[in-house]
Symmetry: D2
Subunit: 336 residues, 4 copies
C-alpha cells in the first residue's frame, strides 16, 4: 500500500502539513559507503522555493537518519529517516476544507476514508515525493557501488503545452502563471549503462514496474517506453532493432525502438521512458464544484503552487528509476 519494491523496498509516511514526512528503506546491502551527504543534494534539487517559477513554500528539507548506517557504512539493517515539515501555512486551506477541488484527490480520499487531512492535500500532496527523492539517492549510491560501470540517469522536460523549444519554456510558464493558470508537460528519462538481465517476467517485467512507478507519481497520466505510442504507426520491419557484432564478442543494435527492454528484461541498451504530466490542478481561478453536503459551490485554490510540475518532477522521476533498477538488480542476483 505505502511500500515500493520487492527486495529493495521503501515504505513512506507523512502528510503535507504534519510534523514530518519520512520513510524506512529496507534491503540495502551492507558495507555501502553512505551518509547524509549522498542524499541531501538530491533533496535540494527537488525542494520547493528554488526559483521564482516554483511554489514559494520554502522548506529546508533536511534529512535526519536514525539507523542503518554505522561508521559511514550501511549495515544491512533498515534505514529510517524523517524530513521535517517547517514552512506550512495551514490557514491557507481553511476555506476549502469542506470543498472538493477539481482534478485533486480531495473527493476520492473523502469517499474512500470518510476523513482527510485537507491541509495542503494531506497525504496526496506532492510533498511526499521528497521521500522518494531521498530513497532514490540511496538507491543510486548503492547501485553504483555494486556495479563495475556506473549507471547514469538523466531526465528533462522536452515539451510544455505545445512548445518543444526549451528556450521558450520560461516565457511560457511565466505567461501561464500571470493568467493564474497551469500547464502540462512531457518528461523524457534516459538510463544508460543499465546492466542487461534486469526484469522478472512475466508479472514483474522491468517495463511493467517502470510503468507502475511512473504512473504512481502525482500528476502523471501516461507512460511510454522506447517508441512508445509511436509504435502504432510503425510496420514490424521498421520497428525491428536489428543486431550485429563488430568483434564477435559484444552484441550491438542498429537502433533502439524497444527503449532498452525486450520481453520485460533489460538488453543493456539505454532505457528511454517518457511520461505525460498534467497541469497542476491548483489554480487561482473560479471553478465549479460541490462541498461535503453535496451543495454546488465555487472554489479558488490560493495556496502556493507550481504553474508547471515539470520544473520539479524530474528529480522524482529519476529517483523512482534508481529504485526500480536497484530493486531489479538485487532480484536478479538471486538467480545468477
Amino acid at each position: 500500500m505505502n511500500r515500493f519494491g520487492h527486495i529493495f523496498t521503501f515504505t513512506s509516511f507523512g502528510e503535507s502539513h504534519g510534523p514530518a514526512i519520512g520513510g524506512i528503506v529496507d534491503g540495502i546491502p551492507a558495507n555501502i559507503s553512505l551518509s547524509k551527504e549522498d542524499i541531501q543534494p538530491a533533496l535540494d534539487l527537488r525542494r520547493p522555493g528554488i526559483n521564482s517559477l516554483t511554489t514559494q513554500r520554502n522548506e529546508p528539507d533536511q534529512i535526519e537518519i536514525f539507523s542503518g548506517i554505522f561508521e559511514g557504512k550501511t549495515t544491512g539493517t533498515p534505514l529510517g529517516f524523517i524530513i521535517k515539515n517547517t514552512n506550512h501555512l495551514s490557514t491557507d486551506y481553511d476555506d476549502i476544507k469542506d470543498k472538493f477541488r477539481p482534478a485533486h484527490a480531495d473527493l476520492t480520499y473523502e469517499l474512500k476514508y470518510g476523513i482527510r487531512d485537507y491541509r495542503g492535500g494531506g497525504r496526496s500532496s506532492a510533498r511526499e515525493t521528497a521521500v522518494r527523492v531521498a530513497c532514490g539517492a540511496i538507491a543510486k549510491k548503492t547501485l553504483n557501488s555494486l556495479l563495475p560501470k556506473s549507471v547514469s540517469i538523466s531526465s528533462k522536460v522536452i515539451q510544455i503545452g505545445t512548445e518543444t523549444d526549451p528556450t521558450k519554456f520560461k516565457e511560457l510558464i511565466e505567461k501561464t502563471k500571470q493568467r493564474n493558470d497551469s500547464i502540462g508537460c512531457l518528461v523524457e528519462l534516459q538510463a544508460s549503462n543499465v546492466p542487461p538481465c534486469l526484469g522478472s517476467p512475466i508479472y514483474d517485467k522491468l517495463d511493467a514496474d517502470i510503468a507502475k512507478e511512473m504512473m504512481g507519481i502525482n500528476a502523471v497520466k501516461g507512460v511510454e517506453i522506447g517508441e512508445g505510442f509511436n509504435v502504432v504507426n510503425l510496420y514490424g520491419s521498421e520497428n525491428a532493432d536489428e543486431m550485429f557484432s563488430d568483434d564477435g564478442e559484444n552484441i550491438r543494435f542498429k537502433s533502439n525502438h524497444a527503449g532498452g527492454i525486450l520481453g520485460g528484461i533489460s538488453t543493456g541498451q539505454d532505457i528511454i521512458v517518457r511520461i505525460a504530466v498534467k497541469p497542476t490542478p491548483s489554480i487561482n481561478q473560479i471553478l465549479s464544484t460541490v462541498d461535503k453536503d453535496k451543495k454546488n459551490v465555487s472554489i479558488t485554490t490560493k495556496g502556493r503552487h507550481d504553474p508547471c510540475i515539470g520544473l520539479r518532477i524530474c528529480p522524482v522521476v529519476e529517483a523512482m528509476m534508481w529504485c526500480i533498477l536497484l530493486d531489479h538488480y538485487l532480484m536478479n542476483k538471486s538467480f545468477q
Copy 2:
C-alpha cells in the same frame, strides 16, 4: 515473478510448445456460481485461428479445472486449471534456435537464464495470455456477483498504423500481410460502473496497477489514462473536471479528463485507458541479427503469426482490467 495481484491473485505457468499452460487463481471469495461455461467463451474469443487475419495455429483451448469449485460454486480455495497445447509445430523453429530474432525476447531470455525453450518463443510467447483471459473471466464473474450493479468493460482497436477509420482496418491488415510485414495499433479500453474508492495510495494506486499490468502484456509499449499524453498540451483550467450535483445526493462531473481516477483512487466515472501495441516482431522478411556464437547472420521468421496484434489483444486487455478491479475491490473491502 509469475504472479498477478495482491489479494485476488493468479500465478501462471507454461511455454508455447510444452504440454500445457495453466494457472492457479487464489483469493476468489466463496459461494460464487462459477463453471467452465463462464470461462470457455472468453478463451474462444482470444484463441488463434478464428479468422483468416490471425495466426493459423488452431488451438481448441479447452480449459480443465481441477479444484476450487464444488457443486457449481466457489469454495474459497484456489482454482487450479490447465489449457493443453495441441497444435504446436515445433519443427517450424528448428532453424532459428540459435539465432536471436530482432524485437523478440530471445536475446534477453538467453542472457538472463543461459537457456531458453526457443520453440514458439517459449515462455515469452503470447500463448501465455490465454491464462490471463481465463483468469479475467473468473474475475468478471466474481466481481459482478459481488456488486449490486454490474461493471462492464469493453475495448476496441481505434487506430492501426496511421489509419483511424475502422472500416479500412481489414484492408490495411491484408495489405500488410501480403507484404510479409506487420503493423502496430492503438487499443482503447473503457470500464463503466466501476465502484468508487478502488485504489490504495500511494504505492498501489489504481492507475499505477493498471499501468503495470497493461505494460506487462506482450507487445505493449505505452499506457495512458484519461487525457493521457494529451495533458501535455492542456492548461489546468482546461483539464479540470468540474463537479456539480443535480439532486444534492449524487456528485457528477462536467467532464472526464482524469479517466475515472483521482489520486490513484477510482471516482466512479468511466475508466478510460489506451495502450500502444507494437507490430508483431515475427515477420517473414530477412533481418540482420547474431547467433549464440556472436556471428552475424540473417534471419527470417516463418511460423504462423498475426500481422496485427490488435485483433487478438482486446480480450487480454479486458481480462487484466477485470483482474485489477476485482483485486482492488477485495483490498478495499478490508478497510470498509
Copy 3:
C-alpha cells in the same frame, strides 16, 4: 494465502476428492538438471497405502510436469505440475457431509466460507501435502546443485504416545488401531551442512519461517528449535554455546543448544527442529458433535485413516525444510 515463500515460492491447489491436486513452483534458478525422476521417489515415500499401518487409500501419485524444464534443465520459468486423484471413494463421506467432525477443520471451513467440499476433508485434507513433497524434492535438487557441499536433511519419529523406544512403535500403533483410536507423536528433524548467513532479520528470521511452515503442516501443534522448551529449565551459563577455533580459520562451537540459528540467522551448525503431531482426529469411535442445523448428533469417522500421522509426516517435514532453506539461500544471494 496458498503460497509458500519469498523468492523460491510455490502455490498449491487441490482438494482431496477433486480430479487432481498440483502446484506452480516459481523462482527456480535456470540450468538445474531436473526431471520427474528427481521428484517421484519423494512422492513414493509419502504416498498412502505403503504399508499395513497407514491409510489404505492407494494412490499412485504420479507427477505430471507441464513446464519449466527444457531438455532436462530448468529454464528459470515456473514449473507447473499436477498429481491426479484416482482412488477416492467419495461415498465414504456421504453420511457426514452435514456434521462437523471434532478436531477437524470441518467447522471452521464451514464458518469461514459458508460452503465446503466435505469429501475427504476437501482442501484441509493431508492429501495436499503431496504437493509440498513434490516441491521439496525440487528444492532439494536445486539447492544441492547450487552448493559446493550438499545439505542433508533427515527426520524421524522419536516418540509415540509416551513411548520413546522405536522398536516398540509398531506394536503400539497396531494396538491403537485395534482400539479404533489414533495417537500423537514427536518428530525430530536435522539439517546438516546448512550454509551460514541464511535468515533475514527481523521479520523473516530463519527460525521464524521454520516455525511458520512447520506449524502450518496439518496436525502440528508445537515447534521447537535446539533446546526448545527445555531452555525454560536452563541457566544462561548452561545454554551458552561457547566458541573456539582449532586452526585460526574455522569457528567451532562446544555445543549446539541454539539448534543452528542465532539472531534468526543460520550459524552453519546443524539445525535441529522438533514438532509435536497430534493424533489423527479421524477415529472410528462415537463422538458428540453438532450438524449444520446446530442439532446435537453423534458421529463416527469411517474412511481410511492413519492411526499415527508420524508414519507419513516425515517426508512432508523434510520437504518444507528444503523449501525454506532454498528460499533463504536465494534471498541471501541478493545481498552477497
Copy 4:
C-alpha cells in the same frame, strides 16, 4: 525482511544505540480514535528500568507520532513514529566490539553482513521490541474499535527454571542475578473473544502466523498452541474437542485441546499459546569465544541486562498477538 503482516503491516527500523528506533504502521482503517495516550501506557509497561530485577538502562521511551492521525482519528494513511534512544552508554561495549558473545547474534550478523553495530547488540537488541509494543497498542485499539465485543489478551510467566510457583519467582531471579547468571522461562498467552474465521489456509494459517511471529521474538526457542507438545502423549479419543449446542444456535465445545484453532482458522474459543524463552545470553561470567581474527579469547558481558527475560517479554508477546489478530481480521473482511 523488516516488515510484519499482510494487510495490517508495520516496518521497523533502529539499533540499540542509534539516535532512535521507530516504525511505519500501514493498513490502519480510517476513522479509528487514536492518540499517543493509547500507545504510551503499553510502552511504559515494557520499558527497562521499571524495577530492580530488570536492566537498569532507564529509557523514557516516549513515542513521537508524525502522521496518520488527524483531529484525533486515523485517516487511513500510514502512521510514522519514532522512540528516541537516550540512555545508551556505548562505552560499555568497547571491549567486546571484536568478540562474538556466545548465544548472541554477534557472530551471525558479522558473517552475514560483514559489518555490525556492536553497541548494545545493534539491530539484534531487544530494544527493537519497543516498536512492536507500540504497534501492538495501535492494533489493539483498532481491532477493538471494529468489533462489537472486545478481544482481550493476557499473558503471564508460568514457569522459571523448574519453578512453577509464581510466589517463588522473585527469589529465584534474585538468586540467579547474584550468581551473575540468567534463567529461562515459560510464558502463556491467552486471547479471548477472538472472532471465528480468522486464518487463511493453507500457507497463511492463523496458527502458522502465530508460530512465526512468536518464534521471531528475541530469545524464543519454542511455540506451542493448545495442548502443544502434550499432543504427543494423547490418543485421538482424548484430544477430540467434542461439540454440542445448548440452544440450537451457538456451537460450544466440551474442551479446548486445539487451543482455539482448527485447520488454521480460529474457532471462537480462547487461543492458547505457550512460548519458551531462553535465559539472557548476556551474563557477567567468563566464557570462551573467538574474536574477528579467529583467535580464542574469553569474554564477559557487563552491560545492564535482565536476569530473566520473562519479566519484560509479556508486553511484546501480547503486542504481536494483537497485530496478528488485526491483520487476519482485515484479511478475512476481504472475503466476507
